[in-house]
């Protein structure tokens, strides 16, 4: 047995998973409070004490790796040129790096924009703009505006390559950290977000973790490698694509409805599954993450109710609108409340179904029939996930739902939403032990063990 300790410094909990690298088995789980605001070690100690009680005796850990979504997550601002092009590519890179996007800007930054960015005080800013050999004026203008601003956070520069050195020099002149990376959109038909993601992760690991005080765990862990959403995306990526020595499961989607947001991860090319369909718009990331900031089971419960309509939500839950409103009021008063009554549990189920349904609508691509003089033509925007082999649910809201399969089915293709390229007939599974994040972390040091752990512990529901 060789044990690895995988830690998630969350906003509410410090979670631990112990995985056996040799067998791929989950050896132990525990959690403690989140104490990032004071000293992460307090929560870590509590979690380790709980782990020791559960396991009898703590093994020697060959790896001790952590992810973090505490202290507000990785708060990022992106800046690009055209909203639909480099600004969108920048957004994709930031989301793929596990960031919490707090602002996305396009075109020339105005004084007001710069003021807004200063106010947002992000942890990292990602500056893009122009394809290689393309526009350089706007990114230079924006770099100068940022150089003169009060903004002190690290800046990752991933725009038109001709401007990168000049901009990095300009921005680092007064002690700011500026890091150059390859252009996120080197040509209009090529999205290349991996280098920017790697640069963001590097800044996160070496600077943000310290700035947020997560580094106080110090020598007790090998490192805080990435934001937790990035580790979930990593796990999805190794599961879907496979690793050296393990074949992947194919195109897959991971649904993660959380307290504040609903995340959707998809792994796959997203190319049209039907021949003759024309792709439009920016190329799509192979590993794509979308975050729905208005779909949170607790912090945004009212927004979910507003999106669906309180009457429809109540009907879906099988309660009266009055009962639904009362349950919503209770959630609003205490976002850490868990359902105490049958009606509240039903409402939670209806909300998670709605959140997952809406989030999938936004994540999946669409196909539209355009009538041309030569006859009807199918035009696809976004990723075609209709052939996805797996749909995996993670997080308490799905895993503890009364009928998790029904929640997952709600994210699949529906006759009434024929335009949406959602999974048609995927296998349905749950990350019942909440260890995708752990597998994503372990993948950084032992991809085969990580793959085995993630696959072995998928609970197949259909």
């Amino acid at each position: 047995m060789t044990a690895a300790l995988l830690i998630d410094f969350g906003s509410t909990w410090t979670k631990l998973r112990v995985l056996d690298i040799e067998s791929g088995k989950l050896l132990g789980s525990a959690q403690g409070p989140s104490t990032v605001a004071t000293d992460v070690n307090v929560g870590l100690d509590a979690a380790l004490a709980s782990l020791e009680r559960a396991m009898g005796r703590l093994p020697t850990f060959a790896h001790r790796l952590a992810s973090s979504s505490a202290a507000g997550g990785l708060r990022m601002v992106t800046v690009g040129l055209v909203r639909e092009l480099t600004a969108e590519a920048a957004r994709q890179a930031a989301l793929g790096a596990g960031a919490r996007l707090v602002g996305a800007f396009a075109y020339r930054l105005t004084a007001r924009d710069v003021g807004e960015i200063e106010g947002l005080a992000p942890d990292i800013l990602l500056l893009c703009g122009g394809t290689n050999g393309g526009n350089s004026e706007v990114i230079l203008h924006n770099a100068r505006a940022l150089a003169e601003s009060a903004l002190r956070c690290p800046i990752v520069v991933a725009g038109n390559r001709e401007t990168t050195d000049e901009i990095v020099a300009l921005l680092s002149r007064d002690g700011r950290t500026a890091i150059g990376a390859a252009n996120v959109l080197p040509a209009l038909d090529t999205l290349d977000i991996e280098p920017a993601r790697a640069a963001i992760r590097d800044v996160f690991m070496h600077r943000i973790v310290k700035a947020k005080g997560i580094d106080r765990a110090g020598a007790r862990i090998d490192g805080v490698l990435m934001p937790t959403p990035a580790s979930v995306l990593e796990a999805a990526r190794i599961l879907g694509d496979g690793v050296d020595g393990r074949a992947g499961l194919g195109t897959l989607v991971v649904l993660d409805p959380g307290g504040a947001t609903t995340d959707v991860h998809s792994i796959g090319s997203g190319e049209p599954a039907t021949p003759g369909v024309i792709r439009h718009g920016l190329p799509e990331p192979h590993a794509k993450r979308t975050v729905e900031g208005d779909l949170g089971m607790r912090h945004n419960a009212a927004a979910i109710a507003a999106a669906v309509g309180i009457d429809a939500l109540a009907a879906a839950a099988g309660v009266t609108p009055q009962q639904a409103s009362a349950a919503l009021a209770r959630i609003e008063a205490d976002v850490e409340a868990i359902p105490a009554t049958d009606n509240e549990a039903r409402l939670d189920d209806a909300m998670v179904r709605a959140a997952v349904d809406i989030a999938m609508t936004r994540h999946a691509g669409t196909v539209e029939t355009v009538y041309t003089a030569q006859g009807p033509v199918q035009v696809q925007r976004g990723k075609d996930l209709s052939e996805a082999a797996w749909l995996i649910g993670t997080g308490g809201a799905i895993v503890h739902a009364r009928d998790p399969a029904a929640v997952l089915r709600g994210a699949c293709a529906q006759p009434a939403k024929a335009m949406q390229l959602r999974p048609r007939a995927p296998r349905l599974a749950l990350d019942a032990d909440y260890l995708l994040y752990a597998a994503g972390l372990l993948a950084q040091v032992d991809p085969v063990a990580a793959f085995d752990c993630a696959q072995r512990h998928l609970r197949i529901v259909e």
Binding site: N135, I278, V370, Q374, V377, V379
Partner: protein, 154 residues
């Protein structure tokens, strides 16, 4: 640095072959080509031109609806800060048998720098581009000479 040219077939038009041939010929001639392909909305030409700092947009239209699709194209460019970009249009631009000089006039009035009739060979378009870029570069050099020393703007 080579000039950058955006190509594509505008509107609900799927005729891609001629546009492909044109794009390949432009590449062979040493231009940087950003090829948007068939079914391209006017706005996508503009977005691509901004991001790639294009010097020219070559719009193809073969299904007879080009006049509708191209209306306001120059205005869109002006709005997006591309007032000086070179604009060409070519193909079967209108339905029915209309005299070419009338059709050409109509597209020039819309703000296209040149319009090309059906059956134009790529050599024609390449020669026109070479001439227009040469004229612009000469003008650019003249205005640079006129500018004060130290002003490094193009």
């Amino acid at each position: 640095m080579p000039h950058t040219i955006v190509t594509g077939v505008i509107g609900a038009d799927t005729h891609i072959v001629g546009n492909r041939i044109l794009s390949m010929a432009l590449e062979d001639a040493g231009y940087r080509v950003v090829s948007l392909g068939a079914l391209t909305p006017a706005a996508d030409f503009i977005r691509a031109a901004i991001e790639t700092a294009a010097d020219a947009i070559l719009v193809s239209s073969l299904y007879g609806q080009g006049e509708l699709d191209c209306r306001g194209f120059r205005d869109l460019c002006i709005e997006a800060g591309l007032s000086d970009i070179l604009l060409y249009v070519g193909g079967n631009l209108v339905v029915g048998k209309q005299p070419w000089d009338v059709v050409e006039r109509r597209f020039l009035d819309m703000g296209f720098d040149r319009a090309f009739p059906p059956g134009t060979r790529v050599e024609g378009a390449l020669a026109a581009l070479a001439a227009d870029f040469a004229a612009r570069d000469a003008k650019g050099r003249a205005s640079m000479k006129a500018a004060l020393p130290g002003n490094g703007r193009r």
